[in-house]
């Protein structure tokens, strides 16, 4: 048998573990020796394949399994492995499609906390692995000439993300990570959360609505003047420059700007 055909049979036996044709095609190419049958030898590879991908999801989504429990989590992950075989030499992104997949997986696709927690855990991973960048220091603001302020734009640190949650997702995540039973409840309004990495530590915190709106504009490359205009929705004109400056200082102190 040619190498190409042999490798195709082998991959089929790994990817379609419940399809007996693929297993018997591989089985026919194997020698029978020792105390194990060809099928048992194939099963060693099948188990290793599934177990490696399963543990990748476990490590990318450490709280999701605790939230769902084995009866929901195991079928979710097994179906994900069946439907989204890895196409990359790295396992780093194997779990990337789970947030989208979970939105289609009955019966949990209707539970907001499950969807939000899944999004949140993947974002933590993305932020953790984001590119390194030197954060601007608070002193930066003093170095800007007056004439530059209106057109000044800012760069958010790599890995920065802004999320809106309808459930107390971050509290639930913290409780699950500590092994506590989470108190899950919807928030009165969607809450804005920022997730970023400061040096090597991934951080997250909730923010006010005006701050969230401004960060969205910063991400789109809007100028300081445009940020001030946006603030008029929440603040009287005379307080706008002070609020804008205060937010900039705050972002610099968090290491959000690079």
């Amino acid at each position: 048998m040619k190498l190409k055909e042999l490798q195709s049979n082998f991959m089929d036996a790994l990817l379609q573990q419940r399809v007996s044709n693929s297993i018997s095609a591989l089985s026919e190419t194997l020698t029978e020796n020792g105390q194990l049958s060809a099928l048992q030898r194939i099963q060693i590879y099948q188990n290793a394949y599934r177990s490696r991908l399963f543990s990748t999801i476990d490590s990318d989504y450490p709280a999701l399994g605790s939230l769902l429990g084995d009866d929901l989590y195991n079928p979710l992950v097994n179906t994900y492995i069946d439907q989204h075989p890895s196409e990359s030499p790295s396992l780093n992104n194997f779990g990337a499609k789970l947030p989208a997949f979970i939105r289609t997986f009955e019966p949990i696709c209707h539970q907001e906390i499950v969807i939000e927690l899944c999004d949140f855990e993947w974002q933590l991973r993305e932020t953790f692995n984001a590119k390194n960048a030197k954060a601007l220091l608070p002193e930066y603001l003093q170095s800007i000439e007056d004439t530059r302020w209106p057109t000044l734009t800012f760069q958010l640190s790599p890995g920065f993300a802004l999320k809106y949650f309808n459930v107390n997702t971050c509290d639930v995540w913290k409780a699950l990570k500590e092994g506590d039973a989470p108190d899950i409840h919807a928030t009165e309004h969607p809450t804005a959360w920022i997730i970023w990495r400061r040096d090597l530590i991934t951080q997250f915190q909730s923010i006010e609505t005006d701050e969230a709106c401004l960060l969205e504009l910063v991400a789109k490359g809007h100028s300081f003047e445009q940020l001030c205009e946006a603030l008029l929705e929440w603040w009287p004109e005379e307080q706008v420059p002070q609020r804008a400056f205060q937010l900039l200082q705050h972002w610099l102190s968090l290491g959000l700007l690079t």
Partner: protein, 296 residues
């Protein structure tokens, strides 16, 4: 292209190393700079081996720590995803990333496995065996030559632990590896535990394996623990090295002479001191061997 050696006498010997894993970052760094800690060599690794793919990321902790370790220890880069034996085209993106990492790390060498890890654009993330025949030799040797050109250095290929064998094989694994090294002009990372595991799983004599590979091509040894199920063994890297593997290592030392050796531990991580004490045991086997060689 860099050359690593010209004869067995000029083989670089880096001593006794450990696989660098995140679980040991802080503990290893806390031991200080090698110049401060080296007087008692038995208490420290001489070199470290990284899993290349763990550092092929944009940023964050892995690269931060790698920067510190590369200032302190000689580093070998060991990969698991080159997919050198696959019928799929070589993954140029992967190889470019590997080259970029090598440019940053300046490793003592780069290794991967004599296997395939995926086909038809899907990845198994496992080290899958090849049939040992001329078709595989020609296929893999051609690809190694291309890889070595991209990486601008020869690579080391590691022997696998395997759990099945193919009717299409026409030779032994050691004959297969020897032919590849010859044709591709690459080197061997001989995993002593894998030889033991495969010998038990396929019922061959591990000594015949050791004696059958080209001596001058062997640059590194791996040692590790495994899971013994009686009728078969699984290579797990999650337990101490068993005595029969240490005995086989002793035989390897007598046959190959000093070869840079390291312990791979990938699960059930013991405290660093425990792993270093296991490394001390390996070092002691080497020292005894050297003494015996001098006396004779």
């Amino acid at each position: 292209m860099q050359t690593i050696l010209t004869s067995p006498d000029t083989k670089p010997f880096y001593g006794f190393g450990l696989g660098l894993r995140p679980e040991y970052y802080q503990h290893l760094l806390a031991r200080g700079l090698p110049s401060e800690i080296l007087p008692d060599k038995t208490q420290n690794p001489d070199w470290l081996e990284i899993i290349s793919e763990n550092y092929m990321v944009d940023g964050g902790k892995p690269l931060y720590f790698l920067d510190q370790f590369k200032e302190r220890y000689p580093i070998a880069m060991h990969g698991v995803s080159m997919n050198i034996g696959s019928v799929d085209p070589l993954d140029r993106d992967y190889l470019n990333q590997l080259k970029n990492l090598a440019d940053k790390v300046n490793p003592i060498w780069i290794s991967d496995h004599c296997c395939w890890t995926g086909a038809n654009a899907h990845n198994a993330h496992d080290l899958l065996p090849l049939p040992y025949n001329d078709e595989s030799i020609n296929h893999i040797a051609k690809r190694i030559t291309q890889v070595q050109e991209i990486l601008e250095r020869p690579i080391l290929l590691e022997n696998l632990s395997s759990y099945l064998s193919f009717k299409d094989s026409t030779m032994t694994e050691w004959e297969f590896l020897s032919a590849i090294c010859e044709q591709a002009n690459c080197y061997l990372l001989l995993d002593i535990n894998n030889i033991y595991v495969s010998a038990r799983n396929h019922d061959f004599d591990p000594m015949e394996y050791l004696l059958g590979v080209p001596k001058e091509r062997v640059l590194q040894h791996h040692l590790a623990g495994h899971e013994d199920h009686g009728s078969y063994i699984i290579d797990t890297h999650d337990a101490p090295i068993v005595q029969p593997v240490l005995d086989l290592y002793n035989e390897a030392l007598q046959h190959f002479g000093p070869i840079s050796t390291m312990i791979e531990r990938d699960d059930h991580f013991p405290p660093l001191e425990e792993l270093l004490s296991e490394l001390g045991q390996v070092r002691a086997i080497y020292n005894d061997n050297q003494l015996t060689a001098q006396q004779s």
